[in-house]
């Protein structure tokens, strides 16, 4: 398994560089062999620069993206691990069996696993950890995925049995998001008790968080002695830190502007991985004029997404034409379904009964890149006679006005998670796409017996929503990691904001 992962990493690097048109000086394939692992590298301290400071250290109490980045796989481990390229591997679960009804899951735990406090891992801890996510006060974004759990039993210390109320093919995948926490642990908002390769050093709020290698780790020890996450609120300060060697790697570049300083410089390596963050122009599919698929298709075809992507991200980023990023198993290239074609857009508008266009208000979150993209969309749609009124709102207003009250015509939003195409199967979701066929497919997919069947159904969902232009999927963000060229073994895709630090080596 380990070997396979490595080769996938290599492939990702090569692909990244192929996509990086301007990064010509690096020879992507050579990087691994040309950086000889020095003997002292296992004692290195790795500085990681990030824009996402944890709110607190508990991911069921609003810890946010930051704590996922710092702790997932590093401090806490799940029964399963979602690898950087989107595969699900056994982690704390040594093995699992599914009953013939597809409803009973029996997990066997790894032997010899110890929490950082020294307590051994038992099935009671697993039960506690799952229930922590599904509990009433839980703020976990994944809570709803576990509504299918009927009961959790612990026949012995090494075995956990979970019974579901209906079949759920994503259950094992979803479990990779559940941290296994010692059921005796206290103060989880400021401390931790996980089983991961690192234990928490110090958390200096507003500044940094350090993780120290845990000597009693049950698996392969971390390749470095300590990692320190340095937090910044602004991308420029973050880049300056990298330029002045205050940090060794930046988890996710949020602006392409500074990249010129790194991509032409041998001391740094710029890699372009796969992100799952999609920028959406989301229509309110309940209300005229966007209740007509033809109108939505016309708007989609009237906007030159390629040019938009280029003006925001330069040569980075990907066009996807649907909600599914390439890392999801049911991805296919659907950019041709609604091509950029102004004449087609005009014709579709006329067919839909709006030959001279119409006007609508676009609720635009006030932070980048939304206002910029909205300005671009406004000028594009003006060419087909559609007048856009840009209404800039705060994230808070967006939540109330758009997400809760559905009081909008169209809006812009970034959707960060993988496998989230299933939201189109929920007619109550904020965009109000209501297609009974799609809803049924999503439900069947979740209850299917094999991954193949699931993939098949979700592909159909994807094709249908693209054909209906349920939303306009403007582009997929790039996932750009910039690191000192002394570094190797860092994750490139940062899937769902994870950043596994235990493999990082510093020459």
């Amino acid at each position: 398994m380990n070997r396979k992962t490595t080769s996938l990493f290599g492939a990702a690097i090569a692909l990244g560089l192929a996509l990086t048109a301007c990064g010509g000086t690096d020879d992507g394939t050579g990087t691994k062999s040309t950086s000889p692992a020095s003997a002292s590298s296992t004692d290195a301290t790795i500085g990681i620069g990030s824009l996402y400071e944890p709110q607190n250290l508990d991911n069921t109490a609003g810890g946010g993206q930051g704590v996922t980045e710092a702790f997932n796989g590093n401090v806490y481990e799940g029964l399963f691990r979602l690898t950087d390229d989107g595969k699900v591997e056994n982690l704390l679960a040594k093995d699992y069996k599914v009953g013939s009804d597809g409803l009973t899951y029996t997990f066997t735990l790894q032997d010899g696993v110890k929490f950082h406090s020294g307590e051994p891992l038992t099935s009671a801890d697993v039960k506690y950890s799952i229930e922590k996510v599904t509990a009433d006060g839980s703020q976990s974004a994944r809570k709803s995925s576990f509504a299918v759990i009927k009961k959790i039993e612990t026949p012995d210390d090494h075995t956990v049995t979970v019974t579901l109320s209906s079949k759920s093919i994503s259950f094992v995948y979803n479990l990779s998001y559940i941290w296994i926490i010692n059921d005796q642990a206290k103060d989880l908002a400021t401390s931790e008790d996980g089983t991961g390769p690192y234990k928490l050093g110090t958390w200096k709020r507003g500044d940094s968080l350090s993780l120290d290698r845990f000597p009693g780790y049950w698996g392969t020890a971390a390749a470095n002695k300590q990692v320190v996450f340095h937090y910044f609120t602004d991308a420029t300060a973050l880049n300056n830190a990298l330029l002045t060697n205050a940090v060794d790697v930046v988890t996710s570049e949020q602006s392409p502007d500074a990249l010129a300083q790194f991509s032409g410089n041998d001391a740094y390596k710029v890699t372009n991985g796969h992100s799952t963050t999609k920028l959406l122009l989301a229509f309110n599919d309940r209300k005229a004029p966007f209740d007509k698929p033809l109108v939505r298709k016309a708007v989609t075809s009237a906007i030159d997404n390629k040019k938009l992507l280029n003006s925001i991200w330069g040569e980075y980023g990907t066009l996807i034409g649907s909600m599914v990023p390439p890392t999801d198993p049911w991805y296919e290239d659907l950019t041709k379904v609604n091509p950029y074609d102004v004449n087609l857009a005009k014709k579709q508008l006329a067919d839909a009964g709006y030959p001279s266009g119409f006007s609508f208000t676009l609720d635009t979150p006030n932070y980048d890149p939304h206002p910029t993209a909205a300005t671009f969309i406004k000028s594009e749609l003006a060419k087909v006679g559609i007048t856009v009124k840009i209404n800039v709102i705060t994230a808070d207003e967006w939540y109330t006005k758009v997400y809760k009250n559905r009081d909008f015509a169209a809006t812009m939003q970034e959707h960060v998670n993988d496998r989230d195409v299933v939201w189109y199967g929920n007619p109550d979701f904020y965009w109000g796409y209501d297609n009974p066929q799609v809803t049924a497919w999503v439900k069947q997919a979740e209850e299917s017996d094999t991954a193949e069947a699931q993939t098949e159904l979700l592909k159909k969902v994807n094709q249908r929503i693209a054909a209906d232009a349920a939303s306009d999927w403007l582009y997929l963000y790039p996932q750009i990691v910039v690191a000192s060229s002394k570094l190797s073994g860092y994750p490139l895709n940062g899937l769902n904001s994870q950043f596994y630090a235990y493999g990082i080596k510093k020459a």
């Binding site: 502007d257 500074a258 010129a260 300083q261 671009f376 705060t394």
Partner: protein, 299 residues
């Protein structure tokens, strides 16, 4: 910051005399008019640019056809920003935004401040004490904090920025007005005119306002410079007019990322800010000398 300081370098606390070229009169005379002229030229240039931008700019502010970070040269005389927008166009519109913010806050702060100051000036004993104490507390809060609160309450927009800066300014203007009014009221001719039966409103109109406006005007001019800087700071922090509006503060913030590759974008807006603020301050200094040529000392 210091420039956002409501009680900043303007001599609000000491209306009679303070930062000022108080040298010997004969030699100073010529230099003073030079001060006024220099100030007018500097500030006037920016005003002219802002006025021109109302009718003509080289490119549409939304035109992104220039390509990312094009270097200076025709057709983009100063190059383009990271979205391919013409830098010169952005700078011209920025002049308009800066002046709108400055003048808007001065109008708001001046109006509120003078009214409150007149009230406090005529008040006596505990009422006067209370108002003064309130003003002191308000002044202790820098414009920037007040603005952040206003922005949190409303939204990040030019209107919010003007409201916040104007509110903060009004406390300073009010305190100044109060001191000035008190000083006028202490003079004998007021007592005389009150004894002869003149009503308070007439006293205000005939005696108080004419006596205090020169000092007020000078102070408002200084406040204009501070307001421009405050708006720039707010925009820099992302609390001013939201993108895609061009504000110099915001432009500087955005250009920070490319300071080594496209330095002009990180320099030009700052230089224009300095030109405008120095110009306005010089005008204020010059005005002071015109308004109060004898520079009578109060201490």
């Amino acid at each position: 910051m210091t420039h956002a300081n409501p009680a900043g370098p303007s001599d609000t606390a000491d209306p009679g005399g303070a930062p000022h070229s108080g040298g010997a009169a004969p030699a100073g005379r010529r230099r003073r008019s030079a001060t006024l002229v220099t100030g007018c030229v500097l500030a006037g240039t920016i005003v002219a640019v802002a006025v021109i931008s109302l009718f003509w700019v080289p490119f549409s502010p939304e035109d992104t056809s220039g390509g990312r970070l094009a270097p200076p040269g025709p057709p983009h005389l100063l190059g383009t920003d990271k979205l391919g927008r013409d830098l010169l166009t952005q700078l011209m519109i920025g002049a308009r935004v800066a002046l709108t913010a400055g003048l808007g806050s001065v109008a708001l702060g001046g109006l509120l401040g003078v009214v409150a100051g007149l009230l406090a000036g005529f008040a006596t004993r505990w009422l006067d004490d209370t108002i003064s104490a309130l003003l002191d507390i308000l002044i202790a809060f820098p414009t920037l904090l007040l603005a952040m609160l206003v922005v949190a309450a409303r939204e990040a927009s030019l209107g919010s920025a003007i409201l916040a800066i104007g509110l903060a300014m009004s406390a300073i203007v009010a305190r100044l007005t109060r001191v000035l009014v008190k000083r006028v009221l202490a003079q004998d001719f007021i007592t005389a005119s009150r004894t002869s039966g003149t009503s308070w409103p007439r006293v205000v109109a005939e005696h108080v306002l004419p006596n205090i406006w020169p000092t007020l005007l000078v102070n408002l001019a200084l406040q204009l410079g501070l307001a421009v800087l405050a708006e720039a700071s707010l925009s820099y922090l992302g609390l001013g007019a939201p993108p895609p509006n061009a504000s110099w503060g915001r432009m500087l913030q955005e250009a920070q990322a490319t300071v080594l590759t496209a330095p002009l974008g990180a320099i030009a807006p700052g230089v224009l800010l300095v030109v405008l603020v120095v110009g306005v301050n010089l005008v204020a200094d010059g005005l002071r000398d015109v308004a109060d040529p004898t520079r009578r000392r109060t201490r």
